[in-house]
Each structure stands twice: as structure tokens, then as C-alpha cells.
């Protein structure tokens, strides 16, 4: 069942036409998964993924497959964040067919920070500003051609951005 989920989200933009969803219903998918199927179709907010407490659980909830490190994923992040409340992180990649990019901070109370959906025609480069509670690995996931790639960098935080 979970395999189906993965394939689904990986290629969701291709099968968004109503027929695909209907077919799934016909296959007798349980309501929970139906919701998720629609979720993908409508870019529904990945509520569960945002509640996860570890990189692995986020990746599982979001993509359901493992990520392989890639030197084609370039992350631009400071060595030492000036303040954990505002840490500028940018990513770019030379990978083709990128469909989404996600930012994870391992040591934050909720690990997933943001997921960006990249339609065809949009460049696989994103910059944003994130909060970091303390020194942590920052992971960028790039979903491209149905596969998942990652890059990791440690960012030191001396003034935390999550209270205190």
C-alpha cells in the first residue's frame, strides 16, 4: 500500500487528471489513502510530514523512499547563523526534472521546515529563511525524475531562534 503512495506522489502531476483518481477509487483504496490521493492531486498540505520528529520520518511521510546524497545538490548556508531566528538557506541543482525541494532541520522540534513544489518550467533554485533552535544539520531533499537526492550541511547556531 505504501508503495502505491510513493509512486503516486512522485508522479502526481502526471496523473492529476480525474480519471487517474477515479481508477484508484475503483481499486478500492481505503478512505485514508483516498484522502491522501486527493491531497496530492490538490497539493494538499502534508500535515503529517510537518509533525515528524526525525529526518527519516519526514522523508517517509513526504516521499516514502530513501534519499541518496548527491553532489549535484548545492546548498548555500552560513557556517554560523547570525541568529537562529533568521537563517538564510538557498539550494540549486543541476539535476533534471525536479518536482520538489524540501528543507529539514534535524534538531528542530518539528524537523520539516518547508517543501516547495516545482512545476515544469520553474527552475530548481530556491532561497528562503528558516528558524533553527540550535546547531544542527540542515538537509535539503530534491525530488527529481522520481528519485530523491539530498545534501547536508551543519549550521552552527549560537543564538537560538525557537524561543529562549
Amino acid at each position: 500500500m505504501s508503495t502505491m503512495d510513493h509512486d503516486f506522489s512522485a508522479t502526481r502531476r502526471v496523473i492529476l487528471k480525474g480519471a487517474g483518481v477515479l481508477t484508484l477509487v475503483g481499486l478500492g483504496i481505503v478512505p485514508l489513502d483516498l484522502t491522501r490521493a486527493f491531497a496530492a492531486a490538490n497539493d494538499k498540505y502534508p500535515e503529517e510530514a510537518f509533525k515528524q520528529k526525525s529526518d527519516a520520518d519526514v522523508i517517509k511521510a513526504l516521499y516514502g523512499k530513501t534519499a541518496e546524497p548527491s553532489d549535484k545538490v548545492k546548498m548555500d548556508a552560513p557556517e554560523i547563523a547570525e541568529n537562529g531566528a533568521v537563517v538564510p538557506i538557498a539550494v540549486s541543482t543541476t539535476l533534471a526534472d525536479v518536482t520538489s525541494i524540501a528543507f529539514l532541520v534535524s534538531e528542530n522540534p518539528n524537523v520539516l521546515i518547508a517543501k516547495y513544489n516545482i512545476p515544469a518550467g520553474t527552475l530548481p533554485n530556491v532561497a528562503n529563511r528558516i528558524k533553527m533552535a540550535k546547531t544542527s544539520n540542515v538537509t535539503v531533499l530534491v525530488e527529481a525524475g522520481g528519485k530523491l537526492y539530498s545534501a547536508v550541511k551543519e549550521v552552527k547556531v549560537t543564538v537560538g531562534g525557537c524561543g529562549g
Binding site: 502534508p46 517543501k115 516547495y116 512545476p119 520553474t122 527552475l123 533554485n125 528558516i130
Partner: protein, 103 residues
Amino acid sequence: MASTIRVRATSSGETTEVQALIQHPMDSGFVKDSKGELIPPHFIQQLTFEHDGKTVFAADWGGGVSKDPYVKFAFKGGKKGDELKISWVDNKGATDTTTAKIQ
């Protein structure tokens, strides 16, 4: 009231670079106020950019995105004078929408 969304979109001919800054507290739900009580979560969950009736960028955000969030991306196409529609919805159901002209 002024929009909560500020956008700068510039076309270089082939691509359009978009930067947006949004006024929002982005409370994660993990921070305590001065009285030691947790500030309830209040953050933007989804942000979309549309050009010519098509979504060119869509963000799913958690409470870990900085206060007054900023994002930058670029897409192929887009001419000077084209409109870009930006909208967000937060976890309390509040929304805002604006349109910006590509420069």
C-alpha cells in the same frame, strides 16, 4: 490596509526571478511568551504563485519558516507587465492574495 505580501518579480527575457516577503508572525507553537506561556502555533501553510493561470511555484510551510517569511525562485517565461498572482493560507484559515506586475 496594505497587503501582507510584497513581491518583486523581474524578467530577464528568458526567465522571471521572483522574490516575496510576507508579513506574518509564523509562530511555531514552541515559543513561550514573557509570561512563560506557549504562544499557539500560527503560521502560513501554503503559498502559491500563479502566472497566466498556471501555478509556477507552491510552498508548503511549517512553523520553522522565519517570521515575515521570504522566498526566492525563478521560472521560465513571463514578460514585463505580466501579472503574477500570489496567495497564502495559514493554519487558522486566514488568507491573503495579491497581484504584482513583472518588471
